[in-house]
């Protein structure tokens, strides 16, 4: 008996790999359809901050993530843009990560079409800038001082989307979606300094670190990880990759727990019987 259990313990780990593949791949092909139940307060706060803006307000999105965090952050960004477009807000996009430009193009090519939005009138994508702090400080006085053209070199001066938008004073909200420390910069160098509301979207790994900012309201809300993306999608009632992602993760999470429990129960058994 003991020996059989021991053997079970030393199982070829490729069986475990296979098990994970199945539990994660099957729900992608055939979603379980468990609704995302809880919605955290932090995510709701982001939603409310956008919801309360009047149509035509200008929102600045700082989308700073690259493909390595795409599964978590892309759905968030997409949900945010959808929400902004549905509310007829004007959207400006900046980025400080070289790898994110392709993802931004992809996002707006898709969502822009869904909502019939015109580039230049409803949204604008500004080019990548490497020096974060210099740009952030400059935008406090005059954003045209650093951004003269969009990412394709077209002049942004006459674009209707930027009409009457010159500095942070003319922006209603800044949302930064990132897996890096750039959100900290927005909070410390822009939000606190020029009193613009700043909200964020971050990966599950960095989420715990922002608790203090949320508590002090330096952050007006936070979307965390794929769970946060799913929550936001259910808030705007447009299930997307976040919702299907969290659905697919259901079984995999359970698998981890079952495996930890099994191995420890076997261990107890081997030890005491």
């Amino acid at each position: 008996m003991k020996d059989t259990l021991q053997k079970f313990f030393k199982i070829d780990r490729r069986w475990i790999f296979l098990l994970l593949t199945v539990t994660l791949f099957v729900p992608i092909v055939k979603p379980i359809g468990l609704p995302n139940k809880s919605i955290s307060q932090a995510t709701t706060r982001v939603y409310q901050n956008i919801e309360k803006l009047p149509a035509g307000s200008f929102v600045l999105l700082s989308l700073d993530y690259d493909p390595s965090t795409r599964p978590e952050l892309h759905p968030m960004a997409m949900a945010l843009v959808r929400h902004a477009f549905a509310k007829n807000l004007r959207v400006g996009v900046v980025t400080y990560i070289a790898g994110s430009t392709g993802l931004i193009e992809e996002l707006f090519a898709r969502v822009g079409k869904e909502y019939n939005k015109t580039y230049g009138a409803d949204y604008v994508i500004l080019p990548y800038q490497p020096n974060i702090l210099a740009v952030m400080t400059q935008m406090a006085s005059d954003l045209f001082g650093i951004y003269t053209s969009d990412r394709n070199g077209a002049p942004i001066g006459g674009m209707p989307v930027l009409k009457g938008v010159k500095s942070y004073k003319d922006m209603s909200l800044i949302v930064c979606v990132t897996g890096t420390a750039i959100l900290d910069y927005w909070v410390a160098y822009v939000g606190d300094k020029y009193s613009v509301p700043v909200a964020g979207g971050v990966t599950a790994i960095s989420q715990p670190g922002y608790g203090p900012y949320l508590q002090t309201n330096q952050l007006k809300g936070l979307i965390g990880g794929m769970k946060g993306a799913a929550e936001y999608e259910s808030l705007i009632k447009q299930p997307g990759k976040g919702t299907s992602g969290i659905d697919a993760l259901n079984l995999a999470h359970l698998l981890v727990l079952i495996l930890i429990l099994t191995s420890n129960i076997i261990l107890l058994f081997v030890k005491y019987f």
Binding site: D12, R13, L20, P71, A98, L249
Partner: protein
């Protein structure tokens, strides 16, 4: 609708993804190819970023405009490369010491302010709002402060941890464990999200508009392993697993 470059891209991406996953079964030439490609492509990507965002705008353009000051750091940078010539490798110290000096000078005040004073301030600040706190809030604030003190004491090396002091440092360990547990749980979610992202892409590439790229590549891999197993016999197979 879907043009050729996208289909070709889909096939390439599906292939490379499956090649790397195939390592989970066992080491094989396809994984090795993908791994070496990754090494080269990663370096290539970084190289083009540094050419386009540093060398051209920060060195080439200023120099051609006559701003010659940037030559100093460029020379210091070049000295780093003497590492490859043992006789001259001492020259690389000029570059290294500059980087270390700059980094240390920056790290000291920043560390003092963000990781040191702000953390003290963050721990005691809740108590200044005592009047508006609920009993639970006060309990939490005390727990954070007490926990942090115990953890710090666990790392205190100047006194022997005996008797009551031992108890304090033991309490510290438990706070550390809760933090580790939380970090573990979050990492599980983050890694699974990544894996989900890759699987989701594979699922996309398995569609008819990509001419079933995923299925075809996967079938080829399985066929390869079957043939390989058949020709090289069972023995090697068992040895291969643990190396994976």
């Amino acid at each position: 609708m879907v043009d050729t470059s996208i289909i070709a891209g889909g096939w390439l991406a599906a292939g490379l993804t499956i090649f790397i996953f195939s390592f989970l079964y066992r080491d094989n030439p396809f994984f090795k190819i993908a791994e070496h490609l990754y090494l080269g492509a990663g370096m290539g990507w970084l190289f083009q970023v540094s050419v386009n965002s540093v060398w051209i705008p920060k060195i080439w353009e200023p120099v051609s405009k006559g701003e010659l000051l940037v030559i100093i750091p460029s020379v210091m940078g070049l000295t780093l490369l003497t590492q490859f010539i043992p006789k001259l490798s001492w020259m690389s110290r000029y570059g290294f010491t500059f980087m270390m000096g700059y980094g240390s000078g920056l790290a000291i005040p920043a560390g003092l302010s963000t990781d040191f004073m702000s953390q003290i301030a963050g721990t005691i600040k809740p108590f200044s709002l005592l009047a508006s706190l609920s009993a639970m809030d006060i309990f939490n604030a005390l727990l954070v402060a007490g926990g942090a003190i115990c953890v710090l004491f666990y790392f205190f090396f100047s006194v022997e941890h005996k008797g009551h002091l031992k108890k304090v440092s033991n309490v510290g360990i438990y706070f550390l464990m809760v933090y580790f547990g939380a970090a573990f749980g979050n990492t599980v979610m983050a890694r699974f999200s990544l894996l989900y992202g890759r699987f989701d892409d594979l699922f996309t590439f398995s569609g008819s508009n990509y001419f079933y790229a995923t299925q075809v590549v996967l079938a080829c891999m399985v066929l390869y392993f079957l043939l390989h197993g058949f020709f090289s016999g069972k023995k090697e197979d068992a040895a291969g697993e643990e190396a994976a």
